[in-house]
């Protein structure tokens, strides 16, 4: 059995957050939540989590990406793994003028990407894989 980890979920969909919380807590992970990028960053500053589960489109279209970039440029947070969950597709990125231009052509600043809808089993497997590093 894996050791329990401190996981921060940042997503503006409260129902989805509570479902993910149930799933993750079933494996004894400690789960903290935030509902936008700003609140998420505040949680991270309180205590750096072992893993961040991050949505892309929240208050703004690229809020998740912006936070991920911000963290990647801060030495104290750059090593925190990020699991990005999104309904966002590559085609959306290509068609979204000016909104995602800084994402395309660069490596996405995340450890892993997972498309919604989130399958609970797949979520647990992915989280375990990331935590084992």
């Amino acid at each position: 059995m894996e050791t329990a980890a401190d996981i921060l979920i940042i997503d503006d969909d409260r129902d989805l957050v509570s479902a993910m919380r149930i799933v993750l807590e079933s494996r004894s992970h400690r789960v903290r939540t935030a509902f936008d990028g700003k609140e998420g960053y505040a949680r991270i500053r309180e205590k750096a989590p072992d893993l961040i589960i991050l949505d892309v489109m929240m208050t703004t279209d690229t809020e998740g990406f912006d936070l991920a970039y911000q963290l990647r440029h801060q030495p104290e947070y750059r090593d925190i793994p990020i699991l990005m969950v999104t309904s966002f597709t590559q085609r959306m990125a290509e068609d979204g003028p000016g909104r995602f231009q800084h994402i395309l052509g660069q490596d996405w600043p995340v450890t892993q990407l997972m498309e919604k809808p989130i399958d609970p089993e797949a979520l647990l497997d992915t989280v375990d894989a990331i935590l084992k590093g």
């Binding site: 129902d15 799933v23 690229t62 912006d66 959306m92 290509e94 068609d95 231009q101 809808p117 609970p120």
Partner: protein, 622 residues
């Protein structure tokens, strides 16, 4: 190397006349030889003392060396870069030979007083125009020297005196010293004045020529730049992808401006950061800083307020946010200009050079033009993409809650909160299935919406369908067929033409048709996909299945949105009725045609024809 070429170009320009006249001189000399001989014979009739044999001998010698010169000239003209120096050397040889021959003829017709003596002056003029001023002075001196030598020789009785042509046939001695000195002084003055006039005209002609050359070079350069700019704009106008457009702009700008690198930086949504959106020629390290914070960058703030920025020597400035990176990158000069889209500065367009003071005022002006045209193309595409974006965003908003419900449902079904009884499980499973269908429907509606918006289309390109269908896409369908227990075969018949399409269109088109065939074929059945070429070169794709078929009365409505044949509904719950509507839209965009024939309970054959773009060049002719 470049300087050497420039010099050669310049020399070619000034010596063009020399090259063009090279053969003319040879012809002129032939005229002189034959005309001279004829004139000698005629003159002898009126002037018996003329030593005709000696004169003809001299003309024969001239003819002889002219033959040699003609060969040498042809060879020199055939030479490459070496042409001008060779022709110049030949010009000197001709000059010395001609002056010697002329001196001999002048001597035989009376020396200093001969009416032929003024012919010397023509040579001074020719030397002035075609050779250097020094050479011209040299030949002037040589002429005076030859005249002085022949006069002295006759006066000192070292050589016999020949009577002055057409003057006094009985004379036995040259005119006295006073007359001789006077005439010689006159020639000296004529030679000096002619030399001075021709060399000074030549010098000013040369200066004017150099100016002309510079103007022509500038014009040439501007013309090339404008042509390149036109090509750039034309290419930008054909882009339907945002990133492709910017990448094209940076690549072309770097090429046209002849610089090390080029970048487009765009403001983020909050207007706080400028991020690299497209970069050409700069290292990954340079762009890895995640963008420039406007608050910390005076320069970028100034550019975003609408004023351009150009710097020739970066070391002298320390107002950059990342001066160390600029130094490491070897950037010495840069020009950054605002990108104005819809009256608002949305970003910055920069060119970087590794040479100090690289950009002239004209360069900056030219880049400003390029920058405005790029912004215009971007603004145009931006408004087109905005329409498409609305569709994406709408679909995304619809799918958000749906995905949350799906995850919540799955959480329940996997019994994370607690155990469920069989009925509860079954009900939740059905709910999950219906949600999946709803998700597919939203995706299909989005596809259909995008297909109906011509501006949302991705660029078409020649595609090899055989390779595309048997590649990654084919693997997915095979897996799907296997799960359903259906045998799927795919084959391409010989050489196939390329068709104009995009990846997503092909997936929308064949994905829907092949997945339909698999979906409506009971386990143990067969689906075959066959690609072939019609005699007129059209590509034909035939998808045949041994499935449930389509009832006659449903045929007419097959391509209507949300229509599903009753037997299809009965056979398979999942289905949006949008698949064939999407197929129809794609076919209309690709100018393709479709025919569906079917017999209930026996199977369906779908034939699709797509016009050929060209023969596949990788394979031989049929």
């Amino acid at each position: 190397m470049q300087l050497g070429q420039e010099l050669i170009r310049e020399q070619l320009f000034f010596r063009k006349e020399l090259i063009e006249r090279a053969e003319w001189f040879i012809r002129l000399r032939w005229i002189f030889v034959f005309g001279g001989a004829l004139a000698g014979v005629v003159a002898r009739r009126f002037w018996p003392p003329l030593p005709l044999t000696a004169c003809l001998a001299i003309l024969a010698v001239v003819g002889g060396y002219n033959l040699a010169l003609a060969t040498a000239t042809r060879r020199a003209l055939a030479a490459g870069d070496d042409k001008v120096p060779r022709l110049t050397r030949l010009a000197h040889v001709q000059m010395v030979c001609d002056l010697s021959a002329l001196a001999a003829l002048i001597y035989l017709s009376g020396g200093l007083f001969s009416p032929l003596a003024p012919f010397f002056l023509f040579h001074v003029i020719l030397a002035g125009f075609f050779l250097s001023p020094e050479s011209c002075y040299g030949y002037g001196a040589l002429i005076l020297g030859l005249l002085a030598a022949m006069t002295a020789a006759v006066h000192l009785s070292l050589a016999p005196f020949w009577p002055v042509l057409f003057h006094d046939p009985g004379a036995t001695a040259p005119p006295g010293p006073a007359a001789t000195a006077g005439v010689f002084a006159l020639y000296a003055a004529m030679v000096a004045v002619t030399t001075l006039i021709t060399t000074s005209i030549k010098v000013s002609l040369r200066a004017k020529g150099r100016e002309l050359l510079k103007i022509s070079r500038d014009l040439d350069q501007n013309n090339r730049k404008l042509t390149a700019l036109y090509e750039m704009v034309k290419e930008m106008g054909s882009h339907t992808g945002w990133q492709a457009l910017m990448d094209n702009a940076t690549r072309q700008a770097a090429r046209i401006m002849g610089v090390k690198g080029c970048a487009i930086k765009l403001l983020d949504a909050q207007g706080r950061r400028l991020r690299f959106a497209s970069v050409y020629g700069l290292s990954a390290d340079y762009v890895a800083n995640g963008g420039i914070e406007i608050e910390k960058s005076t320069i970028n703030r100034r550019i975003l307020q609408g004023s351009g920025y150009a710097v020739g020597r970066i070391q002298e400035r320390d107002i950059f946010q990342f001066p160390e990176q600029i130094r490491k990158e070897g950037i010495e000069a840069m020009v950054c200009l605002p990108l104005r889209m819809d009256k608002r500065v949305s970003g910055v367009f920069c060119v970087y050079s590794d040479r100090s003071d690289f950009f002239s005022d004209e360069d900056v002006q030219f880049f400003a033009m390029m920058c405005d045209l790029t912004a215009l193309a971007m603004a145009q595409l931006h408004s087109e993409l905005n329409k498409t974006w609305f569709l994406h965003k709408a679909a995304h908003q619809l799918r958000g809650p749906l995905h949350a419900i799906q995850t919540m449902l799955d959480t329940l079904r996997r019994e994370y909160p607690g155990p469920l009884n069989a009925d509860q499980q079954q009900t939740l499973a059905r709910a999950g299935k219906r949600l999946g269908l709803l998700d597919t429907m939203i995706r299909d509606l989005l596809d259909l919406g995008l297909r109906r918006d011509p501006e949302a289309d991705q660029p078409l390109q020649p595609m090899d369908l055989g390779r595309h269908l048997t590649g990654e896409a084919g693997t997915g369908w095979r897996a799907q067929a296997e799960t359903r227990g259906v045998h799927l075969s795919m084959e391409a018949d010989g050489e196939l033409p390329l068709v104009l399409a995009s990846g997503t269109m092909i997936e929308d088109l064949f994905g829907n048709l092949i997945v339909n065939a698999i979906k409506y074929t009971p386990s143990g059945g067969r689906v075959s996909v066959k690609l072939s070429t019609e005699t007129d070169g059209t590509l034909r794709c035939e998808i045949a299945d041994s499935g449930i078929g389509i009832p006659e009365e449903a045929m007419d409505r097959l391509f209507s949105e949300f229509f599903r044949a009753p037997n299809a509904r009965a056979f398979c719950e999942e289905g949006t009725g949008l698949g064939l509507a999407i197929v129809k839209e794609v076919l209309s965009r690709l100018h393709g045609t479709i025919r569906i024939t079917s017999r209930p309970a026996q199977g369906t054959q779908v034939s699709v024809w797509l016009p050929a773009h060209s023969r596949n060049p990788t394979k031989g002719r049929q």
